[in-house]
């Protein structure tokens, strides 16, 4: 029984030179790849630049995508090279031993440190870009903690119900419209609520997404930067016509918006009178809290 000797191609030296090859190719290709993602793909990434929040989201996606490139490439190169170099060729005995490595404290330590740093860095990055652009356009609940820092906000209430969106404008007499137009260069506060089940107000180009919960006000902020059209879709399954629950809006100049809004206010005046009082939620509640949409004065505990 001859003593088994590991061939040169699997020796420590071979491993070292393989690592050098992998790392050098990886660095070069990564730099090219990162530059391509940042400069070529980056400006075309979702969700565009129509608002401050959309711009922020685009930057975040660009940043993370750029960071992902070297990670993908490292794993690919590593696996690819190992498989190419150390696979069993036809005619070889594939059951012989290979290099007896059951761990490597340097490699493992480096891996722990790098992944931990990367992860903590990403969490810090995400937290900063969540707080800085006033909640990054996400629904912040009834009492938002990250606000734009100005009180001059256009209030738009989004009312979702099966299966459509309507909008109420407290600063325009509490009128309710089926369409939405927004002025450019304006801080906007969306108050999102629902009359029945959970919906989600997703204004894609505005970089805004907030669940519409029944009986609950969900606030999201955005600041428009450019004019154009945007799509609103329901993004939380809400029953059979969920797929058809969408409409389109426009960001227009401030003058045009003023004109549209006052026009709508006048047109809608007879209807506005019949609507329940403007409120942040509309609930069929005996206590009258939240506007008492159905106005049912029934106390379920009344006879106790």
């Amino acid at each position: 029984m001859a003593k088994f000797v590991l061939e040169d191609s699997r020796s420590e030296e071979a491993g070292r030179s393989a690592l050098v090859k992998i790392l050098s190719v990886w660095i070069v290709v990564s730099i090219i790849g990162m530059a391509l993602v940042w400069f070529v793909l980056g400006p075309h990434l979702a969700p565009g630049t129509m608002t401050d929040q959309a711009q922020g989201a685009q930057f975040d996606i660009k940043f993370v995508s750029t960071l992902v490139v070297p990670v993908l490439l490292f794993v690919w190169f590593f696996f690819g090279y190992s498989i190419m170099k150390w696979r069993v060729r036809p005619g070889e005995d594939g059951t012989l031993p290979a290099a007896n490595i059951s761990g490597n404290s340097k490699a493992q330590g480096a891996w722990y440190i790098i992944t931990t740093t990367l992860v903590l860095g990403l969490a810090a990055f995400g937290t900063y870009f969540l707080i800085a652009p006033a909640g990054a356009g996400g629904g912040e609940g009834a009492s938002p903690i990250w606000t734009p820092g100005t009180t001059k906000l256009l209030q738009v209430q989004v009312i979702a119900q099966q299966w459509r969106f309507t909008y109420r404008w407290p600063q325009f007499g509490g009128m309710e419209t089926t369409g939405i137009e927004l002025p450019v260069n304006t801080e906007i506060q969306f108050n999102v609520t629902s009359l029945d089940v959970i919906h989600d107000f997703w204004a894609y180009q505005l970089g805004v997404k907030a669940d519409a919960n029944p009986d609950y006000n969900n606030v999201a902020f955005t600041k428009t930067l450019a004019t154009g059209n945007f799509t609103v879709r329901c993004d939380e399954l809400c029953g059979i016509w969920h797929g058809a629950m969408f409409n389109y809006g426009k960001v227009v100049s401030q003058q045009q918006f003023e004109q549209w809004a006052t026009n709508m206010e006048q047109q809608n005046a007879p209807v506005t009178k019949l609507l329940p009082k403007y409120s942040l939620t509309y609930t069929p509640s005996y206590s009258g809290a939240g506007g008492g949409y159905y106005n049912t004065n029934v106390d379920p505990n009344a006879n106790l």
Binding site: S82, I101, E140, N218
Partner: protein, 645 residues
Amino acid sequence: MAIDFSQETKSGSSGAAAHKSSIFQPSIITGMVGGGLGFLFGHWAGNAIGGGYQQVVGSGQNDIAIVLGYLFAVVGWFAGLGALNYPLKKMLGFEPENVEHISEPGWGKYFRYTTDHKVVGVQYLFGMLVYFFTAGLLALAIRTELLSPTHHIWGPDTYLEIVGEHGTMMMMMMTSVVLGPFGNYVIPLMIGSKKVAFPRLEAASFWFTPISYFILLSALWQGGFQSGWTSYAPLSVQQGVGQDGYIFGFGLQGLSMICAGTNIVVTIINYRAPGMTWGRLNVMGWSMVSLGFTMILSVPVLIDGLYVLTLDRTAQTSLLYGAHGGSSFLWENLFWFFGHPEVYLLAIPGFGMVAEIVPVFARKPVFGYKTAAAGMIGLAILSFFVWQHHLFQSGMNPDMRPLFMLTTELISIPTGFIYLVGMGTLWRARIRLTVPMLFMLGVYFNFLFGGVTGVYVSDVPINVTVHGSFFVMAHFHYTIMGGVIFAFFGAIYYYTPLVTGYQLSEKLGKIHFWSMIIAFNSTFLPLFAVGLLGQPRRVFEYAARLQTLNDWVSISSYVLGLSLTFFVVTWMWQIVVTRKKSVRDPWSSRSLEWHVDSYPPPPYNFETIPVVVAGPYEYADPDALPMADIVVANAGRDVARESVR
């Protein structure tokens, strides 16, 4: 049937004459009769109880009748299967029976409530394949609808029924897809045990799955449920009786998970052979322990959530309805408190399978054995602290978002361990690109996309764009289908020689692998773009500009379907018709499960309890002892040992 290395004959279905079987012997048939009678009784009782209430009269919908019907159907099903005989016997005070695995020849045992863990494993394998292909067909139905943004194949209600059924069925089945077939079959062999701790719980865990399958599917002809697999309240309270099918289907699967998880954990802890220390336990064993504990601690909360939903639908409580003192957030919390550990309990056994199989084909020890075990335990623990990342846009607790973003991103560290282990194990290895190995490398390739996109969805500012879109959908299909399902198929190729005694063709396997991985990536990679471009999930109408991408995806999904059909046909053909006998230890594995007397293993697993003297992964040490001193009847050709010395 079996390839007994000592004696070529003496087995086969001819021996069935010794066992008198009749249709009255408890089996799946009596179970179905019992279940049917139970349903009729429960339905009658529900109508008697609920028929007079205002909410029921004239509404055409009595959830109480359906719920009680399902409840008694389950009782009847288990009574019919004979599963209640033993518990009743215990009430009479009989001493616990030592389970001796007496192999009943023939096919009958696969249709019975049985305490042989190997039979349960095979039952699970076929059960899970039925689940997978049913839900897969539903997926193709979804993709067919999405061929066109405006022309419809299904009505909007049917479409959502299909979406909900696909999602729920897949999520139910994925929880058991590795644990059920391979955990149950292989783990006792791997740890050198002749038995499992709770054989009846194990059997029950399987027999929950057929009835939950039927109940879930039965929702389809009761109007289905249009609320998806997440079934957010109050939409799920609003639904018709189809929602009760969801509740019971998912709930029974939950009970199955509890039974299976308890059994596997206790078995690994208590039934390891002498010398099988924790440091020698296969990585697969570590993954099963992590998985079992995750199940035990998360599944009851799902059952609570489903129960609360049932009460809102039947007893008219208002736990999930804000206007009467409840909250729709309650469901979201209860559901995701289970739901997020769930996705890791899908992933962990997949990783376990990968770390188990890669060393065999790399002829090296697992790189960083402790890191691998720590990775799985870390995943299991962290998974309990991330659930609110599904609710970043829901409006609840905005102040908690940085915390949940942090915990979610922390989970990439243990996930990264799995990559470290894989890469280290391949380093300077002797890599045999067999079919199982290809599938395991496929897991690494696919899961990488799932992993890095996980960073996008966990980052709250990016989440604003991608939440609820096809991006998220592609992300979790990459992790679950690209990860767990690839591991599952790899494990099928790996263990078929052990389980059936027949060797599979490498050529056919490679055709399956390459067609599957290409079609899979071609199906799901474009969906990241579709999501980023603004398509929400679960819609039947989408922007016309996205049609090209969607059509590409749909056509790829048909190819994926064909690839999987190819697997079923060739696999069944090889184990039923051509039946090329396997050699002993075909992959030259050191692990105990391959060193049994015959393939499939004899009912008693091992003649004597093996005494373990070495670890399972010492492939690179030419002087390593065999893992245990198993005295194999007629050792014959034993590749690993011969070549090492």
